[in-house]
Amino acid sequence: MIELRSAFHEYNAGTVVKLPDLTAGHGEELLILGLSGSGKTTLLHVLAGLLKPTGGSYRLDGTDLYSLGESERDRFRGNNIGLIFQAMHLIRSLTVLDNLKLAQYMAGRKQDEAKIRRLCSDLDIGPKLYSYPDELSHGQKQRVSIARAVVNDPVLLLADEPTSSLDDLRSGDVLNLLRKQAAETGATLIISTHDQRVKAHIPTVLTLDQPEGEVAG
């Protein structure tokens, strides 16, 4: 269960991004639509515990993330929140298997290779465990980044523009995978995009307003 109330973020440059009020329970799917600059990424970063909002309150399963110490928050994030980016940011010097083990290691979890193998065969990248990211196709990389986001059974799965550079068919695939993985762990799935095609897959939509007039700091 996530709850965001009357939050906003003011960047150093003086740009204030107002964030919508938002509630989502376990297993729910939410699509955040908005034009470029409307604050989608800012919202996801706040939800992920990466960016402390200047004002407002945020709770994830009752935990006030931003009242935690920084290291605790990192650990909490590693164990409870899965993140997927448009640029997948896999670690190029590690194999697929090690990228996934890294996720378990950084979250301070037991390194469970069997689980990784299961997950990867679910995602059709089983034979690529020992490949390096540079040896994978774009779609395969995307699957690895999905696997990395769900390997620690997060309660919240956040995807920032996961489909923007994909064709219709592939974007449908990725959305299905995300939904399936989220459903398997009972996670709340929040996808942000300006890609209108996603609407066909996820009916619950939150549309962000046009960026407000910039306020001088």
Binding site: R75, G78, N79, H89, S93, L102, M106
Partner: protein
């Protein structure tokens, strides 16, 4: 997965720069290791060989030269001293013991030292095979000499005059190997030892005249042990009737036949009888003296230098002077090593700094995956330390290897054998220096990793 594996993965990815940095540091470390090994062995050699020698008495000249020739058998001697005069010093109350040395010949570059068995006792040298000399013209080989020349007991050699192989050959006196010493780790290993009287015997004038040679060779006058003519000069036998104080020397006379000569070889002068044997108008090269009481150090050298035609030089003083002279050179090499190490600090720093730029996203991702700032900091420092410790270990190995190589290269040329197979107490501390290099050079990149702003970094993708 752990930090070690993670750092290794990044090092592997930049293999070339990793290897270059490891090598760069290892050269610096190796240079220091060589210095440490060299000075250690040098000092050990210098002090070990001079142990129990409070002062060396020889002909006037450079005191360092007297020490170098008298104890370490490196430089040419300063000249000779009259045995009669030397004996007066040996009887001096401040002198507890005095070992006479007569130099002047070599065999294939190995110095032949005429002395008494006290010299061998001082270095705790015992024959590994054969025995010590009992008679004139019998020689005992140091362990290295035996090994390098392949001489065995019973072999006969002729010595060359002077200290290089090129010297005039004393082919009319054959020397017989009667013993080979155990290795002592001292200068003895590279010497050929015999009784003093052998040296006098060798240099006795013979039928064929080589006076001209003697005089054409300037160094010769200094080196020559025997410069006076015996009345019985045409005889090869040492029947020093004229010196004899009591009859026993002659009675012990021993006659045998070899190489067609008929030598009458006298029984060797022993340490106990040395003072009483006579021969006072013979010459020796140096006396190695131990004082009977520590106060002598202040008075005895001054007495010798002021009141006699000889000079006294204290090894403790001269060795310290020598090391301080040498220290300047060693200091220069040490400086060079530190320049290399500083260069490798820069090298590792630049390599890590560059990789930080490439790895900005990786670091941000690690944070999103739950890694703390300190974990990223350690990850980068570990990387620097891994390079530097690898460089340190490699440098240690290379330093020992190079020292061994140098030792072998000069094994025949130098009086001090140096080896790479030696452990200098505390040398492993150099790994701490290496680790410090790693920490130092990775500190700034690690701080950069620590300060990674996740949201900012990720939204710049």
């Amino acid at each position: 997965m752990n930090l070690l594996k993670l750092s290794t993965a990044y090092l592997k990815k930049n293999l070339l720069s990793t290897i270059l940095n490891v090598l760069l540091l290892s050269f610096g470390i190796a240079t220091i290791v060589i210095l440490v090994l060299f000075s250690y062995q040098l000092e050990e050699n210098l002090y070990k060989n001079a142990e129990g020698i409070d002062v060396v008495v020889g002909a006037k000249g450079s005191p360092i030269q007297l020490i170098l020739s008298g104890i370490y058998h490196i430089d040419n001697p300063t000249g000779n001293i009259d045995l009669g005069e030397a004996k007066q010093l040996m009887r001096h109350p401040m002198v507890a013991s005095a070992i006479p040395l007569a130099l002047g010949d070599n065999y294939r570059g190995y110095r032949i030292v005429g002395t008494t068995t006290a010299y061998l006792e001082k270095y705790r040298a015992e024959p590994a095979s054969g025995s010590l000399w009992d008679f004139e013209f019998e020689i005992v080989l140091g362990s290295d000499v035996a090994e390098q020349t392949n001489l065995a007991i019973g072999d006969r050699i002729v010595s060359s005059h002077g200290f290089s192989e090129a010297g005039h050959v004393h082919d009319d006196h054959e020397l017989t190997v009667v013993g080979i010493l155990h290795p002592t780790g001292t200068v003895l290993d590279r010497l050929i030892l015999t009784g003093v009287e052998t040296m006098w015997g060798i240099h006795q004038p013979h039928d064929h005249d080589h006076e001209d040679e003697y005089h054409s060779d300037q160094a010769h006058d200094d080196e020559h042990v025997h410069t006076h003519n015996h009345a019985d000069g045409d005889s090869h036998s040492h029947s020093h009737d004229n010196h004899q104080q009591d009859g026993h020397f002659h009675e012990n006379g021993h006659s045998h036949d070899h190489a067609g000569h008929h030598h009458t070889h006298g029984r060797a002068i022993t340490d106990e009888t040395f003072l009483d044997e006579g021969y006072d108008d013979e010459q020796i090269t140096a006396l190695l003296i131990r004082y009977s009481n520590p106060l002598a150090a202040a008075q005895f050298p001054r007495f010798v230098n002021d009141r006699t035609s000889m000079q006294a030089a204290a090894p403790a003083v001269e060795v310290t002077r020598l090391l301080s002279l040498l220290g300047v050179g060693l200091e220069a090499i040490r400086l060079f090593a530190f320049v290399l190490i500083f260069a490798s600090v820069l090298g590792i720093f630049i390599a890590l700094l560059n990789s930080m730029k490439e790895r900005k996203y990786d670091l941000a991702i690690m944070r999103t995956l739950g890694g703390s700032r300190w974990k990223l900091f350690s990850h980068v420092v570990l990387e620097g330390v891994m390079i530097s410790v690898a460089g340190g270990v490699l440098g240690l190995l290379m330093g020992h290897g190079a020292m061994e190589g140098i030792g072998r290269l000069f094994s025949e040329a130098q009086q001090f054998a140096v080896t790479g197979f030696v452990y200098v107490p505390g040398e492993e501390l150099i790994l701490l220096l290496a680790a410090a290099v790693g920490v130092l050079s990775s500190l700034i990149p690690a701080v950069m990793a620590y300060r990674t702003e996740i949201a900012e970094t990720l939204s710049k993708s």
